[in-house]
């Protein structure tokens, strides 16, 4: 599996998520259904193969390990990411985040209000609880990546 292939598959998965899953999340759901959905979401996102899960892509600060790969399309100034986590619910949350940020420019990323976006999905607690589930660490790493590029 090449990085290009993964990026394409991810884009496809994110489109499906945006169209099918996010609207469901905007509805009032009991917590059980919400978690079931999160896990399904996680499954849709392609996995980063073992051999690409190198230490340098490992994001620390979470109970579970997560990986972030970054691709900067400098011609069009767009940022693309691959995300994965060994924990399924965390991966679902990462998929949602990715559906908001994939393909944005540095400028757009800066303007994005992730809090508000998660709030609209009744998922805000997961962002503020972000230290242990690793979402916050992931956001920090993404910020570091885009300012570094």
């Amino acid at each position: 599996m090449t990085m290009e292939q993964l990026l394409t598959d991810t884009a496809t998965a994110l489109t499906a998520i945006r169209q099918q899953d996010l609207p469901v999340l905007q509805q009032p759901l009991d917590w059980q259904s919400k978690y079931r959905l999160l896990m399904q979401l996680g499954k849709k996102l392609p996995s980063i193969p073992e051999k690409m899960r190198q230490n340098e892509w490992l994001v620390k600060g979470c109970e579970s390990r997560a990986w972030l790969l970054h691709y900067h399309d400098s011609a069009n100034n767009k940022h693309y990411f691959l995300l994965d986590s060994e924990a399924r619910i965390v991966k679902g949350l990462l998929a949602i985040m990715l559906s908001f940020i994939n393909g944005l420019s540095q400028q757009e990323l800066k303007q994005l209000d992730l809090q508000r976006a998660f709030d609209a999905l009744n998922l805000k607690p997961y962002l503020s609880q972000s230290r242990s589930n690793g979402l916050n660490a992931m956001i920090m790493r993404i910020k570091a990546n885009i300012t570094g590029s």
Binding site: R36, S64, E86, R88, I89, V90
Partner: protein
């Protein structure tokens, strides 16, 4: 002393009144504090606040007396020979580091061996590792045997072989913070002493299960943290037999710990001052004394039985939930159950329990080497305290069942 009543016991802890929706089972990480502790800390700051020692005014005198009374309170609790054998530190971690550093710089020599166990918390591993290489000291590890069902235990044959190498130090945890199992300390320490080893016990998890008697347990050092014994954060106790405390090279230099300072050299003060540099954690020491006085009004054996009941109820209930991989056994357990849902990541389970307001911890519990031995990436830990109710255990079992169902998707 009246019969232990769990519901009445719980009433003493304001946390549960103020956070009624939570089921708190993260007691191995830290315990809640009874009102008596909060009152002691508040009273100190409102009426008694002053620095201790060398004060010429009555306020400082009073604060010093309270602080020294706290030391005596701990001494009596541990049945130490004298109050100077009680050193206040900032926590178990600081205490273990003082012991490791202090022995490395005085007693130990290159080629000497230190024995720890496979069940140790990082505080009892890294504190030795920091110095082992520099001093050429060898760290030996007692391996595990057994399995989850019957309970993992230390391999005592292997221990005896390690003892035959005449280690200078044997440093063991009283209770595993990751699995809950209780070490057979009495005999292990006697065997260590028979070989002439200095014995150290990490009581961070053990103190709330079984208070040691320092005049019968063959331990030269014992340490614990106040915050795991219903006391405040920021305080630990380092107990040591006088002869060994005297030998420890101080880890910290500063006020009070010296008798005479000149720019050329300093002369150390007597115990306990020589190992307590700087302004101590005064309010927390008073808080710990209040915690000890509080817990001493209850029968320790009854508390133990009650904890065993909580544990049994939980363990029995788990048998009915499919797909649970237990890491802890029921027998010989101080109240900690560690488990995984088959094929699932512990973080996912903990998130689902958190959603149901059950506070547990997921991960490797500062015992990474143990988890490498067990070949599992982590686990979810349920740690019980006597303020937990049987109804909470039931709720927790239901929550676990729900979580397993969701994960089974």
């Amino acid at each position: 002393m009246s019969d232990f009543n769990a519901a009445a016991f719980r009433q003493h802890f304001p946390f549960f009144t103020e956070q009624p929706e939570w089921i708190y089972l993260d007691n191995a990480a830290t315990t809640h504090k009874p009102a008596a502790v909060l009152d002691a800390v508040g009273l100190f700051y409102r009426q008694q606040n002053s620095n201790v020692h060398r004060g010429t005014h009555l306020l400082s005198e009073t604060a010093t007396n309270l602080y020294e009374d706290a030391r005596t309170c701990v001494q009596k609790y541990l049945n130490a020979a004298e109050s100077a054998e009680i050193i206040f530190t900032s926590g178990t971690t600081a205490a273990l580091n003082q012991i490791a550093y202090g022995l490395m710089h005085s007693v130990l020599k290159a080629g000497d061996r230190v024995v720890i166990s496979a069940l140790e918390h990082h505080a009892n591993i890294v504190s030795w590792q920091l110095h082992c290489q520099r001093f050429g000291v060898i760290l030996d590890v007692i391996p595990l045997q057994g399995d989850a069902a019957s309970g993992y235990q230390l391999d005592l044959n292997a221990y005896n072989k390690l003892l035959s190498l005449n280690p200078k130090v044997v440093s063991l945890t009283q209770v595993s913070n990751a699995l809950g199992c209780i070490l057979p300390l009495e005999n292990m320490l006697l065997a260590a002493k028979a070989c002439g080893a200095i014995t150290v016990v990490d009581g961070a998890q053990g103190i709330a299960w079984q208070v040691p008697d320092m005049q019968t347990l063959a331990a030269d050092f014992y340490c614990f943290s106040a915050h795991k014994l219903y006391g405040p954060t920021g305080l630990g106790v380092l107990y040591g037999k006088r002869e060994w405390l005297e030998k420890l090279t101080p880890l910290l230099g500063g006020g009070e710990m010296i008798e005479h300072v000149s720019f050329a050299r300093s002369r150390f003060n007597q115990l306990p001052a020589r190992l307590e540099a700087g302004t101590p954690s005064i309010a927390a020491a008073l808080g710990l004394a209040a915690a000890i006085r509080f817990i001493s009004t209850f029968d320790a054996e009854q508390i133990k039985s009650y904890k065993r009941l909580l544990l049994k109820t939980f363990h029995d209930g788990i048998q009915h939930i499919p797909g649970i991989n237990l890491l802890s056994a029921q027998q010989n357990n101080a109240g900690i159950v560690t488990l995984n849902v088959q094929g699932e990541h512990p973080a996912d389970l903990a998130l689902l329990l958190n959603e149901q307001r059950i506070a547990v911890r997921a991960g490797q519990h500062c015992a990474m080497p143990l988890f490498e031995l067990l070949a599992v990436p982590g686990a979810v830990r349920f740690a019980f305290a006597p303020y937990n109710q049987l109804t909470e255990v039931e709720q927790c079992l239901n929550a676990l069942t729900q979580a397993v169902e969701i994960l089974a998707l």
